[in-house]
Subunit: 174 residues, 2 copies
């Protein structure tokens, strides 16, 4: 199973600026690359807060080919939003989620954050590749891409400009 | 005055791994690039803790062309290590340090950290360029390159591989 961690960060590793939430600092080119990468995966996993931040867009999406799995402690609270095969809520752990997706025939999944979700999938050594966009910002404070001690073995497999100031970095884990 | 912030960080913006101190994760290629950039500047500024971490190397250095300014609240404590024009200790603020170096004819200075020093020079908008090496690591925890809220305007002016896995990024501030 190809488990792709996707994130857009500042040069100093922040997912968000200061006390803000959301990735409003992401360039249009990052957003286009994000959509392309997600479509290629066919399945995504995100935390409940990340879902809430983009909720209307997901619920209004006409794209029926993408499975979005939302991790929450209280999946029953979201039961009426669930659409099996498109929008699913689960309290399962990372290993169980990946195993279940594999059993259902998915060959790759994009892990979309936030930090807690990246932490969980990193702790269980499930992420096989990171695709990280680095925007030209230094926030100093803000939610970090990871918050728990880690040190997965990374190999740089690609780096390219998305625009004049924005870099895309891809690392293979292992 | 060209004020160059130089740092080596993990992909998630850490200067050090977990609770460790020092940049033992820096590649040989980064260290070579670091020495080259510092020589080109002719003057450096670092915090007292950074100095203590590389103290023996600095005191034993045969390079008499480089001025190292160490920022400490107690410069008198270090009086016997001082060598005017080579190793100087000061409790002056960032603006005063830069002005003093300019008055003495220095045209560029490298700011070597740690985080507190980067914070101070960033808060006063003194850094005109960042040269940041990104090693292929994700530490999750560790001292961050900046710890205070900031958001200087950055323009990417260069990105290149130092080795197969290590990227050097240069950003102009402004």
């Amino acid at each position: 199973m190809h488990v792709l961690g996707i994130a857009v960060i500042s040069v100093d590793g922040c997912l968000a600026r200061h006390e803000e939430s959301g990735v409003s600092f992401a360039s249009a080119e990052d957003q286009a690359e994000f959509r392309r990468a997600v479509q290629e995966c066919g399945a995504t996993v995100m935390g409940r807060r990340t879902f809430d931040a983009v909720r209307e867009r997901i619920l209004g999406s006409k794209d029926h080919s993408l499975l979005r799995t939302i991790v929450t402690r209280e999946p029953t609270r979201y039961a009426e939003l669930a659409q099996p095969g498109r929008i699913e809520f689960t309290s399962a752990g990372p290993r169980e989620i990946v195993r279940s997706l594999a059993d259902r025939g998915y060959r790759s999944v994009a892990i979309l954050g936030g930090a807690q979700i990246y932490d969980l999938f990193t702790a269980d050594a499930l992420i096989t590749e990171w695709q990280i966009t680095v925007e030209p910002r230094l926030f100093g404070t803000g939610t970090r891409i990871l918050s728990r001690a880690a040190d997965p073995p990374l190999t740089l497999v690609e780096h390219r400009l998305l625009n004049a100031n924005t870099l895309l970095l891809r690392y293979r884990v292992g």
